[in-house]
């Protein structure tokens, strides 16, 4: 193959990338300005990099508490989704029968149901059982997240030979030991994919927590951001500082795990 680089394409790509970053640039530079400065000029960097807006936004968002709420809900839900989905997919892939086929189909078919179609009865029923709280929310995430995760695990499990299970059984391992010590570690690549897809979804989810969490102090970042934005609609300097703060954890996560994230998202979409 010819070894020439495509300069024109490269320049086009770089220009597009700059265009892609413009919204973030505008958010960032204006978050350091005063209200008056934004009014005068939105495109250039601030005259003075003042953190005043951030101090206000940090306090108003109750940032550490909100960040902790998001972390707690996301981590707990994702760990449980991984664990329970892998177990279920293992059972479905190892016991080949009509029941397994029907159950697998049920999980896949559930993916077609839009959230809005179950939203109203879900909230009413859970409300009657006093389950509109963090525990209820995590339980709901398991219900909504299981389908795709089981689907992904099921595909990966079909590629692990059953002779492995049998060998372990002859050596005296029970069902649980076979799953936990032999099969689950072999599923690590798909576990990363499942984890990343669920983290992105749950971390950013707004509608479900907005219906379930109604206690002040338990809000996740998107939820708190919605209220914060509503309060500061005409005060862009504060709103933008809040938005930058809200995005920061994601950017840090992306910086350290970008390779796995892009791979996970692409594997999850294709399989």
């Amino acid at each position: 193959m010819r070894n020439k680089r495509n300069w024109k394409i490269e320049i086009l790509g770089i220009l597009l990338a700059i265009l892609w970053l413009v919204p973030f640039y505008l958010m960032f530079v204006n978050s350091f300005k005063t209200k008056k400065e934004i009014f005068m000029d939105v495109t250039s960097p601030p005259e003075k990099w003042s953190f005043d807006n951030y101090i206000t936004a940090f306090k108003e968002l109750d940032f550490l508490q909100t960040l902790f709420n998001s972390l707690f809900i996301t981590v707990t839900s994702v760990v449980l989704i991984i664990f329970f989905s892998a177990m279920a997919a293992y059972a479905l892939s190892r016991a080949k029968s009509r029941i397994s086929t029907v159950l697998f189909f049920l999980f896949v078919a559930a993916m077609l149901i839009p959230f809005q179609s179950v939203m109203i009865p879900l909230v009413t029923v859970f409300g009657q059982f006093e389950m509109l709280n963090r525990g209820g929310l995590i339980f709901m995430y398991i219900g909504f997240g299981a389908s795709l995760s089981i689907f992904l695990y099921h595909g990966a499990l079909n590629n692990i030979p059953r002779s492995l299970d049998e060998a372990a059984r002859i050596d005296g391992a029970n069902r649980w030991q076979i799953f936990w010590h032999i099969i689950f570690p072999m599923l690590k690549p798909i576990t990363v994919t499942v984890a990343i897809l669920n983290i992105i979804w749950i971390w950013n989810d707004y509608l479900l927590p907005s219906l379930v969490i109604n206690k002040t102090g338990s809000e996740t970042i998107p939820l708190k951001m919605f209220f914060f934005f509503g309060e500061y609609t005409k005060q862009w300097h504060l709103a933008l500082a809040g938005l930058t703060l809200a995005i920061l954890p994601v950017i840090i996560f992306y910086f350290f795990a970008q390779r796995s994230i892009i791979k996970g998202v692409s594997d999850g979409a294709i399989k």
Binding site: N6, G13, V42, L80, I113, N204, F229, W236, I247, S266
Partner: protein, 286 residues
């Protein structure tokens, strides 16, 4: 493990219970409620198809359905076009390939609600001040008219989702057999012919995946709609998901909202199944 083993059911129990209580029971209840006059407090009585008959004459609902359809069609085309273009750019022989990939993909990690707020600032503040600078009045009114609200949503979604779709196309482009491309080069195919007759048919499976993802994401859009336009002006940019939410929780007509939600499900399911079927038929077998 066999299906009559106790262990089988033990392994399945947690997700089966969760799916049943969170998806299956609410879905069945939802179908039932859609035939009643339930308002969330009293169970209401059985009204047959009355809710469904009413929604056929509900202009606000039909408008939102039409707006959503237009938005989905325009967005699907644009997102796939931009996504495939970006994929072709970053998979060509360039130095900055991985940096560009990282940049284009970044908006996908951030929630739609937050992205909508950022773009609200851009459309309202930045567009207005740039418009003033260069003397273009049309930049002053963004998001305050139906048209600009529509294009605002399209721009936001294209910017957000193109990088996601790019990643999918990249996966398929990298799976292309190199020999085939080289053979076509030797046979004297130019780059357009190579794309049209070799790359394009071979990445057909990527279209199935990408079209499905973009269509379902744009049709079910809620967060971005809420934070960018909030449905305004005068509910003219309200999409189906938001219309259902408002019918339920603003107007408190639960059963009626549920009937709309069932129609919404039927449309989403038909589109999804039809699309998978149609795309599978024309995929090239390797």
């Amino acid at each position: 493990m066999r299906t009559k083993d106790f262990a089988y059911w033990l392994f399945l129990a947690p997700v089966l219970i969760a799916l049943t209580l969170v998806v299956i029971v609410p879905m069945l209840l939802g179908v039932y409620y859609s035939f009643t006059s339930w308002n969330g407090i009293t169970t209401g009585e059985f009204v047959g198809f009355q809710n469904y008959i009413n929604l056929l004459q509900d202009e606000r609902f039909l408008d939102s359905l039409w707006f959503t359809t237009k938005f989905a069609i325009v967005s699907v085309i644009l997102i796939n076009f931009i996504g495939l273009s970006l994929a072709l750019i970053v998979t060509s022989r360039i130095k900055t390939s991985s940096l560009l990939r990282t940049t284009f993909f970044m908006p996908n990690l951030i929630g739609g609600l937050i992205l909508g707020f950022i773009w609200q600032f851009i459309f309202i503040k930045v567009f207005a001040s740039v418009g003033e600078m260069i003397g273009m009045d049309s930049l002053q009114v963004w998001l305050s008219t139906t048209e600009t609200g529509f294009w605002g949503l399209v721009i936001l979604m294209s910017w957000q989702m193109a990088g996601y779709i790019m990643v999918i196309y990249i996966a398929y482009l990298q799976g292309l057999p190199k020999e085939l491309i080289e053979a076509s080069e030797i046979d004297g195919a130019n780059s357009f012919q190579r794309f049209r007759y070799i790359v394009f048919p071979l990445v057909a499976p990527a279209f199935t995946v990408s079209m499905f993802l973009t269509l379902s994401n744009t049709f079910k859009l809620y967060d971005q709609n809420l934070s960018l336009t909030g449905g305004g002006p005068y509910n003219s940019t309200e999409m189906v998901a938001m219309e259902i939410f408002n019918t339920a929780f603003v107007q408190n007509t639960f059963a009626y909202a549920q009937a709309k939600a069932i129609i919404f499900f039927v449309i989403v399911a038909i589109v999804a199944l039809f699309q998978v079927y149609w795309n599978k038929r024309r995929e090239v077998e390797l």
